[in-house]
């Protein structure tokens, strides 16, 4: 406060501090006049004229010099005035003075640390009336000014009070806005969390910031019912007709549809949209953050925290739709390191005997979806992992003598479905390489499928169909006279399924990403079913090659229309009312959940 040489300034600063100290001391003796006046002057917030600004700055500076005289009991109203001040309401001068005051106050006495941290965290979000201008240039400029100072203050406190970060963690977690808060509030708060993660205190609070971020994403995710997603954009209905097996069926076969046909109150749809938008913006933030972490070389540490929070939050979240794509994106940034860690973790959970069955089934579903949908994975890597999966299934089946039983062998059936799913996507490319082809051929797939446990009758019919179809076209599972071993299943399994036979509850975690704004991060690394060349594709060979390249670059809206025309030889119209033949040709990569989604 004032250099020694600056006599005039020094004297007035000293005098001011002295004055304030006297005022504070006087309160203990019962004289609150000066004190009240002081507080009164601090309450100007609206449109301060330069005089008022100067007064406020002076007061704040004087207070900084008198913090040791502030008593937590007697000066309660002063403390609440200070804590109620919002950086957002003032200009840079006042902000600086306030910053200094808060840091000095926090470090003067242990009792004020929590108070000051709380005050700073409450400044993460602007006042209500400010929210609208936040997106405008002057709002953004203000935000930068405020947040820079708030975080500098937090750092200042952490420097002097080493245990402050752990208290800060707790306070940040407590004050995080819930799913019902306005989008702007949630977004700016999460921005702050990510600033903490990448800032100087990152090594202390970073992990819990990542955890909290994933928690927010999941919270929003589970608020979105499936059907809201579908109704979001009527133009996109085509996608789901394509990818949804169920919609292609006629009414009488929808035995697993518990919920009524699409009948929603407008409010429900609206709410779903609002939440989806919030999630969309947050996902964008998250992806941006991961990208900058990658550029700074910090992705490995961040990924560790991400993986842990995935395991504790996302893996068990019943049918989360989009939150898991943070993992997908992180792996796409760094397939060798992060990607392999992800796969190892999933395999570990799947193979372990300690974790509950639901986790293991979820883990293998994630594995299957990841291996199928990640464009950045090499076919040989997929084959290696597949081999390990097949190995497990084979060993398991060897140990079992029992018959088909859905309840007792859920993990086994989930694993079988997983490997069929992966092969639907990757069979052709595996068979294209001789080395990998021999690996595939040597896998004991036949033995697994022929086992008494009969996975082919339990797993989702559409997947089994597609798999067998491709297998037949690739001449797998054939005996010497050329007959396909599983031919008979083509007819019988469909009827069994429609008859309500054991159906596996299905979940394909990395089904196409539907949030519009953040889609640009995922799209380049994602394999859509339309892009997959199957083993029976040979007839439409040459035309498809050209279309393939065009399609990927084409306008997103058209992609699925193109898709429709590619997959079926018959005209588009007959699709909806199509015959059995047409229905078989789609690959259902998205399944509508068979249980009512509202009670997720």
């Amino acid at each position: 406060m004032g250099a020694v040489g600056d006599d005039i300034g020094d004297v007035s600063d000293y005098e001011l501090t002295h004055h304030v100290r006297q005022a504070l001391k006087a309160v203990l003796e019962g004289d609150t006049d000066e004190y009240d006046q002081l507080i009164g002057n601090m309450h100007h917030t609206e449109r301060l004229v330069p005089d008022e600004v100067a007064m406020l700055v002076t007061i704040l500076r004087a207070l900084s010099g008198a913090v040791s005289f502030i008593d937590i009991v007697h000066h309660r109203s002063l403390l609440s005035s200070i804590c109620a001040m919002r950086f957002w309401n003032y200009g840079p001068d006042v902000m600086d003075a306030l910053m200094e005051l808060v840091v000095t106050l926090a470090t003067s006495n242990g009792k004020y640390v929590d108070l000051c941290l709380d005050m700073l965290v409450s400044n993460f979000i602007p006042p209500f009336n400010f929210l609208e201008i936040l997106k405008q240039p002057r709002g953004l400029a203000k935000k930068d000014q405020v947040l820079a100072r708030v975080h500098a203050a937090l750092k200042g406190i952490a420097d002097l009070v080493p245990l402050a970060p752990s208290r800060l963690e707790q306070i940040v977690r407590e004050r995080v806005p819930n799913v019902f808060a306005k989008e702007a509030q949630i977004v700016v708060y999460v921005e702050n969390m990510l600033m903490l993660e990448s800032g100087d205190m990152g090594e202390f609070v970073g992990n819990s910031m990542i955890f909290e971020l994933v928690n927010r994403l999941i919270d929003l995710d589970v608020e979105i019912g499936w059907d809201e997603v579908l109704l979001d954009d009527p133009n996109n209905k085509g996608i789901f007709l394509m990818e949804l097996e169920d919609l292609a069926r006629t009414d009488e076969t929808e035995m697993d549809m518990d919920e009524p046909q699409i009948e929603y109150t407008g409010r429900k749809v609206l709410w779903g949209n609002v939440v989806a938008q919030k999630l969309d913006t947050l996902m964008e933030l998250a992806f941006d953050h991961l990208q900058s972490c990658f550029k700074n070389g910090r992705l490995p540490q961040v990924f560790e925290a991400l993986l842990q929070s995935f395991q504790s939050t996302v893996l068990n979240a019943y049918k989360s739709k989009f939150a898991q794509f943070v993992m997908f994106y992180a792996c796409s940034l760094d397939p060798e390191d992060c990607g392999t860690q992800f796969v190892s973790k999933l395999l570990e959970i799947f193979k372990s005997t300690v974790y509950p069955q639901e986790w293991r089934m979820s883990a293998v579903a994630y594995l299957a979806s990841y291996l199928s949908r990640a464009k950045f994975l090499s076919t040989s890597y997929v084959t290696i992992i597949l081999e390990s999966l097949v190995d497990w299934c084979y060993k398991y089946s060897k140990n079992q003598s029992g018959e088909i039983n859905l309840k007792n062998h859920r993990v086994f059936y989930a694993a079988c479905q997983a490997l069929m799913y992966v092969l639907c996507f990757r069979m052709r490319s595996i068979l294209a390489t001789p080395r990998l082809k021999s690996q595939l051929v040597n896998m004991p797939l036949e033995k697994i499928f022929k086992h008494a446990l009969n996975p082919l009758e339990v797993c989702l019919p559409s997947i089994v169909e597609e798999f067998l179809r491709q297998a037949k076209a690739a001449h797998l599972f054939t005996v010497s006279n050329g007959t396909f071993l599983f031919d008979h299943l083509f007819e019988s399994e469909l009827s069994r399924a429609f008859g309500g036979f054991q159906r596996l509850d299905v979940f394909f975690p990395f089904d196409p990403y539907l949030l519009k704004k953040s889609d640009r991060f995922i799209r380049p690394n994602f394999i859509y079913w339309s892009m997959v060349r199957t083993t029976y594709d040979d007839d439409e060979d040459d035309d498809d090659d050209d279309d393939d390249d065009d399609d990927v670059e084409d306008d997103n809206d058209d992609e699925f229309d193109m898709n429709l025309s590619k997959m079926s030889i018959t005209p588009k119209d007959s699709f909806m009312f199509g015959n059995l033949q047409d229905r078989k040709m789609q690959m259902p990569s998205r399944i509508r959940p068979s249980t009512s989604p509202e009670s997720l």
Binding site: T17, G65, V67, S68, S108, N109, G110, K111, V161, P162
Partner: protein, 203 residues
């Protein structure tokens, strides 16, 4: 430095049955969750521990969750500063009104200007802030100096100390250890030689 003590403790840790696969890990987790917090039973802030089990057997408690109790022998390093103890810490911030110190890397201490003795004046030299003694020119307190101070109070919840530099044996540790000894010896020459030796050793 005072305020640190090593305690021997016989502890009994109750573990949930799910932890039975890796008991030592669970014990370490349990003890680690108590680090850097003031513990009334131990009468101090736990800084470090080393623990070992004597017995391989543990009794299972009757009840809903059959937790089992593992007996440990532990050495605990505890930090328990009381008023008038002398502590040392590194200065992280200096101002005209206060000096901020960090003790043992985790505890923050503040010394306000009222508790700094008269001989120290706040100065700014070459852009650096410091407290310089007017009596001994070489006795300075700057940022990064290790300072010895007397404890006034200790907040157990926030682990915050408030200290004082009023006593003559407080200040910059380097200066105190080097020069104060000479100073003391000179002033004590008239006294008994034995007394001098005792005083020097006791430092």
């Amino acid at each position: 430095m005072e305020g640190l003590k090593v305690s021997e403790a016989d502890l009994l840790v109750y573990l949930h049955p799910s932890k039975s696969k890796n008991v030592s890990q669970a014990i370490y987790n349990e003890l680690s969750s108590m680090l850097f917090k003031y513990n009334e039973t131990f009468d101090g802030v736990l800084l470090a521990y080393s623990a070992s089990t004597n017995d391989e057997l543990a009794k299972i408690l009757p009840g809903l969750h059959p937790c089992f109790g593992v007996r440990l022998k532990a050495q605990l390093l505890l930090f328990d500063p009381k008023p008038n103890m002398i502590l040392e810490g590194k200065v992280v911030k200096l101002g005209a009104q206060s000096i901020h110190i960090v003790v043992l890397g985790f505890s923050s201490a503040t010394i306000i200007d009222e508790d700094i003795r008269e001989e120290f004046d706040y100065k700014v030299k070459h852009g650096k802030e410091l407290f310089a003694s007017s009596v001994n020119k070489r006795h300075k307190i700057e940022i990064e100096t290790v300072v010895r101070f007397v404890v006034k109070s200790f907040d157990e919840e926030t682990l915050h100390l408030s200290g004082s530099l009023l006593q003559p044996n407080t200040g910059n540790v380097n200066w105190l250890d080097k020069y104060a000894e000479e100073d003391l010896v000179e002033r004590l020459i008239p006294r008994n030689k034995e007394t001098i030796k005792r005083r020097i050793i006791a430092k």
